[in-house]
Symmetry: C2
Subunit: 344 residues, 2 copies
DNA sequence: GCTAGCGCTGGCAACGCTGTCAAAGGCGCG
DNA sequence: CGCGCCTTTGACAGCGTTGCCAGCGCTAGC
């Protein structure tokens, strides 16, 4: 019911508009959906009436009638604020450009029920599609279920999972390989590394790429475990710097642990990069803010998110449109924390 | 249509369940909504049938029929990944505990159309309620419109806006006052500050609280402009440290600028905290990762977000429930970047 | 013995929109 | 001049739920 010309509320419906404009609701609907077959004059009248009454269509009703919700979801764990936020920015921006809304569905990577949880979420909320963020995107059971449900999905990860109809695969392995080679070229021979959690395939990729770039196998003592947390980075750095033959370069699998290495080095009076080169991974803001500024590997996260969203929307709009697995190149950002080995 | 016992798809409806269970759809609906008036036996049968068919109710249809969407929205600008992500964590967690989903609606603080944009978003998406994050929560026109639409909203900010039916007001002014007093107690007399963007009321609060704690007025040269960005912090720090009488303490209105101060000091060979004390604001992870670790003010963001969400959901479930404006106390985290002034 | 009241269940309409189909009117073409 | 075709418009039937009210079979109360 329209409540008069002013103070239009949520309760103005398409019927009110149709009545006020003297046309059928179907015609109003056509105008709303920019259907081609509407007379110019009619369209104009309807548009004016809509504006006059302050009407906005109910997405809910539209969803029920059309089978499309104009909602997409992002499935994410929350290990890293920087990554999530950069990705979300790109997704949300693309969504609103296309008239979609974004719903956030958090999950726990370690939870054995993740796939079931995501499925039940999709069934209830009836979103039109999903974007699955790392590391959750490494779980093959999720895209498998989604495909079975017929819901389009896009994964963002460092490895390609055939279960996804569409993926953005960042070449983390290639990037760490390049970083490793760079260190070797600089003259480093005692090169150490702090791993990420081994159950993340991206962590495996980073490790594999880096190790492959080195001339020989890495001594066990140089290969430290880490969990992407600051404290684990501190512990690993302490262990490395306490060795009789400490490394002249340390690659930490994310920026946070790399920052910990720099802090640990500083507290022991080890000069970075004079006595120790340090590199991280993520291209986070943090890397630029610490002293010395951290060499790191940047993923074009916002850009990737935009691409992922565009692909997803294309799949939604046209289910036949074949989408592919896109490789994404990463870039090495060289800063002050890395240099040729100095006085050993 | 049910497609057999296995491979149940999205298309299982309440009708299928009703038929399979031998009851009316109305009864199935009652079971779904945990209505009290259902016989134990009937409930059991229905529940079993639901499980057997793999049925999940359509939130969309429920929304249309009941006038509730079980969707709440968070309205946010994106100035600070750390803040947004901590808040989102609390919101999303509380939502899913209560069976709601979260949709993210980004806005631009500076946009003159923000309020209209939010209104149109609410009208289209028909969310049941909104949580407005800082700094967008400082714009009074937004809650004003929402109240007019009859949509519950909760604001999280550093100042109380009467337009909001419910707010969480963090006492940033009180916290910076305490910080200022602490610096004075430590013996600092030459105290400087780097402001945030003056059009943020929270920045005004932080400034006002800090200045009020000092024994005398702050010299103009000690009061530097900043925009919460790292570079602006660097510039301000450079200006301050170039003075004939450089300050012995600098309070930067956020952690990022404080990190810049520490970096600038280091590059000039100014020892922190020996020659210069530095404090920030935000309690971000960054603060703990830099060297020296940064004294900062922590808002219990995730906790606040949880509280805000609980209040919002209470208002949604029971519109009569009176919600209030809750003051939130912040805590000063003292770390190595702050000490008594040393050799001046 | 009759009615009121209770616990449980079902039928019907509605929520606000779109899909489908068909009708009305105007046009070109043979 | 008549036919078919195209464009514009409308009627009707859903979409999958819930709200409302009625009705069933009982028991309790007068």
């Amino acid at each position: 019911m329209a409540q008069g010309e002013f103070g239009a509320t949520l309760s103005v419906t398409i019927d009110d508009v149709a009545e006020a404009a003297g046309v059928s609701i179907r015609t109003v609907s056509r105008v709303l959906n920019k259907a081609p077959n509407v007379g110019d004059e009619t369209r104009k009248t309807v548009l004016e009436t809509i504006a006059r009454l302050g009407y906005s269509p109910s997405i809910r009703a539209r969803a029920l009638a059309s089978g499309r919700s104009f909602l997409i979801a992002v499935v994410q764990d929350d290990p890293n604020a920087h990554v999530i936020s950069a990705l979300q920015r790109g997704i949300v921006e693309t969504c609103s450009r296309h008239g979609y809304e974004l719903v956030v569905h958090p999950v726990r990577f370690g939870d054995p029920e993740v796939a079931a949880d995501v499925e039940s979420f999709v069934r209830r909320s009836r979103v039109d599609g999903l974007i699955v963020l790392p590391p959750t995107s490494e779980i093959a059971a999720i895209p498998a279920r989604l495909t079975q449900l017929g819901v389009p999905s896009v994964g963002i990860a460092s490895v390609s999972l055939p279960e996804y109809p569409c993926m953005l695969v960042s070449d983390e392995r290639g990037a760490t390989f390049e970083l490793g080679r760079r260190l070797v070229e600089l003259g480093h021979r005692r090169i150490a590394m702090i791993e990420g959690p081994p159950h993340f395939r991206s962590a495996q990729q980073r490790k594999a790429g880096f190790l492959a770039a080195l001339p020989g196998p890495m001594p066990d003592a140089y290969l430290q475990k880490g969990d992407y947390g600051f404290d684990s980075g501190l512990a690993a750095a302490d262990a490395l710097l306490s060795l009789n033959q400490p490394p002249t370069a340390i690659f930490a699998c994310n920026d946070i642990m790399a920052a910990a290495v720099i802090k640990a080095a500083r507290e022991r009076g080890v000069d970075v990069p004079g006595q120790l080169s340090v590199a991280g991974f993520d291209g986070s803001d943090l890397a630029a803010m610490i002293t010395p500024a951290l060499t790191t590997i940047r993923r074009p996260l916002t850009e990737m998110a935009r691409l992922a969203t565009e692909s997803l929307l294309a799949m939604i709009e046209d289910p036949k449109s074949a989408s592919s697995h896109e490789p994404i190149a990463l870039s090495l950002i060289q800063r002050q924390s890395m240099a040729a080995p100095g006085a050993v």
